[in-house]
């Protein structure tokens, strides 16, 4: 239900249950890429010392550069639970569309196709593609059938803001209950004005406006969550 309101990707497990994945947006992914870029630059400069050892050293250097160039993300994603260092810092991971871990084939596909995603320069194609896609997939993700998702619990399990539990005057359908819960969960992120403005839409339900409306909406959310 919240899938339509939110950037959740819902996958159905063979066990007959729907699992929701929190898809990562373009900003988080760009930041992760930036960190990886720095890591790679550090790797290159660390490796450049190899060239001091003459022919064999240079050979090793070239081979390492080749590996870093093409396989840096692949190796990390496959061997490190879908995370490159940048993704780990930001709590992102690559998974397949059905939520299972990426294997070699999917990871190689999505990373080699960076060549196309980079066109016509500075990841232009990737940006357009992920802005157009519901799950903010770049071209490589579409082809490989992969998603980049948030894996850490950060910002997920906050307790609802304190408010006296209040029974809603009418019985609410599940979608409405979910909307109230989401409102309550996110309300600490907004300024008081914005909270009041949004709660205004609930005036028919709460029978109040302004700060009092907000408090009542929060109370109903607590009540739905089971507080009495």
């Amino acid at each position: 239900m919240s899938a339509r309101l939110d950037t959740l990707a819902v996958v159905e497990a063979p066990e007959g249950v729907e699992l929701s994945l929190r898809v990562a947006g373009i900003t988080a992914r760009a930041l992760a890429f930036g960190i990886d870029l720095l890591v790679r630059l550090a790797l290159y400069s660390a490796l450049s010392w190899l060239s001091l050892f003459g022919g064999p050293g240079e050979a090793l250097l070239l081979l390492s550069v080749f590996v870093v160039e093409w396989f840096y993300p692949v190796l990390f994603e496959v061997l490190w639970a879908g995370q490159t260092p940048g993704k780990r810092v930001l709590g992102l991971a690559v998974v397949r569309d059905d939520g299972t871990p990426v294997g070699w084939s999917a990871s190689v596909l999505r990373n080699f196709l960076r060549v196309v995603d980079f066109l016509p320069g500075l990841y232009g194609a990737a940006i357009v593609s992920s802005l157009l896609s519901r799950d903010s997939k770049r071209i490589g993700d579409h082809v490989a059938g992969t998603l980049v998702v948030h894996v850490d619990g950060r910002g997920e399990l906050r307790a609802l803001p304190a408010a006296a539990p209040l029974a809603p005057p009418i019985s609410l359908v599940p979608e409405e209950q979910a909307a109230l819960l989401e409102f309550a969960a996110r309300s600490p992120e907004w300024k008081a004005d914005r909270r009041a403005e949004l709660a205004q839409q609930l005036a028919p339900l709460t029978g109040a406006s302004g700060a009092e409306g907000v408090q009542r909406a929060l109370g109903m959310a607590r009540w739905i969550e089971g507080a009495r």
């Binding site: 007959g16 699992l19 064999p56 196709l113 082809v143 969960a185 739905i224």
Partner: protein, 323 residues
């Protein structure tokens, strides 16, 4: 059932599952009893069921999130792709790869033609009208090539073991990188692969034509004889893989384009990986054999052998077990 008794009845089970998953995730399994892992599938299925119930009965965001997380982690562990590397590698190179190439025989010949035609045309032109050469190559890179193949043999005989390794590494990075690029650019409706293929044909043709024109042909041909088979054919196969990838967008058949890509892109990738392995082999030969100061006849014989080997491999490889 109310929320609290629901949680109380399952608390232990969840804690058990969570500790199992944590142990599996960090790879530290020493703390687990021997049969602990056998519990995982059951615990996971129960967690899935609990998740469905908790969601349906609106037991609250927190609980649903926790169960969702548990189910995701469990799924991650249970549905991991299998890993029998060695067997798979042998199966791939022995059987699957040559078959894949034969399945794409039409594209293979089209790409070969698209590569060979500009090569020959430019080589002949460059031989007759050397001035036209500079239309496709800049003078500096030509000079570099000339130094590499100078008939006095300073470069080839003066190379030590370290240099051979270095050249091998250089060829790997350069040539395998070219394969990857030819493939990936194919996603642009196949046009990228097509252009790269023609470009490389023109490039090789220009170099070859130029060297024949200035009388270095002996140097050039003895050098390339050994590795050319693997390298050139691999380049064509990389283009085949790229064109096939592009064709999934141009003509997806009775599927959506996205579906066609998800279903068939792995097949294209397998073609590319085979090609990359061939190029790797070529780089090995190029680094350690091609520059050895050995009689030209020997080099031509080895070159002919290599071409035969490539043809026999791709033509007959994996046929016997097909019956």
């Amino acid at each position: 059932m109310k929320r609290e008794p629901f949680i109380a009845a399952r608390k232990q089970r969840w804690a058990r599952l969570e500790s199992l998953l944590a142990a599996l995730r960090t790879g530290r399994r020493d703390g687990l009893e021997r049969d602990a892992l056998h519990e995982l599938p059951r615990l996971y299925r129960q967690a899935c069921q609990d998740l469905a119930l908790a969601r349906r009965r609106m037991y609250g965001r927190e609980l649903v999130q926790r169960l969702n997380q548990m189910a995701l982690r469990g799924r991650e562990q249970l549905y991991r792709p299998s890993s029998r590397y060695l067997h798979e590698v042998a199966q791939f190179f022995g059987v699957d790869f040559p078959r894949l190439v034969r399945e794409e025989w039409r594209l293979f010949w089209i790409c070969s033609l698209l590569f060979a035609a500009p090569l020959v045309a430019v080589a002949v032109t460059a031989n007759k009208r050397p001035d036209l050469l500079y239309a496709v190559m800049d003078p500096e890179s030509l000079e570099r090539f000339e130094e590499m193949y100078a008939p006095d043999g300073a470069t080839s005989s003066g190379r030590g073991v370290g240099d051979n390794v270095r050249m091998f590494a250089f060829y790997v990075r350069n040539n395998v990188g070219i394969d990857f690029q030819i493939f990936a650019s194919g996603l642009v409706f196949g046009i990228g692969s097509l252009l790269s293929l023609i470009y490389n044909g023109v490039h090789f043709g220009a170099v070859a034509g130029h060297f024949v024109a200035i009388g270095y042909e002996q140097q050039l041909f003895t050098f390339v004889a050994g590795h050319s088979s693997w390298e050139l054919v691999a380049m064509v196969i990389a283009a085949v893989a790229g064109m096939r990838l592009g064709s999934l967008l141009v003509a997806p058949g009775r599927r959506s384009r996205a579906r066609a890509l998800v279903e068939d892109a792995p097949r294209c990738l397998r073609l590319l990986l085979g090609a990359a392995a061939m190029t790797f082999l070529a780089a090995f030969i190029e680094g350690f054999w091609s520059a050895q100061p050995l009689p030209g006849t020997l080099k031509y014989v080895v070159g002919a052998l290599m071409w035969t080997l490539v043809i026999v491999y791709l033509w007959l490889g994996g046929r016997r077990r097909a019956a």
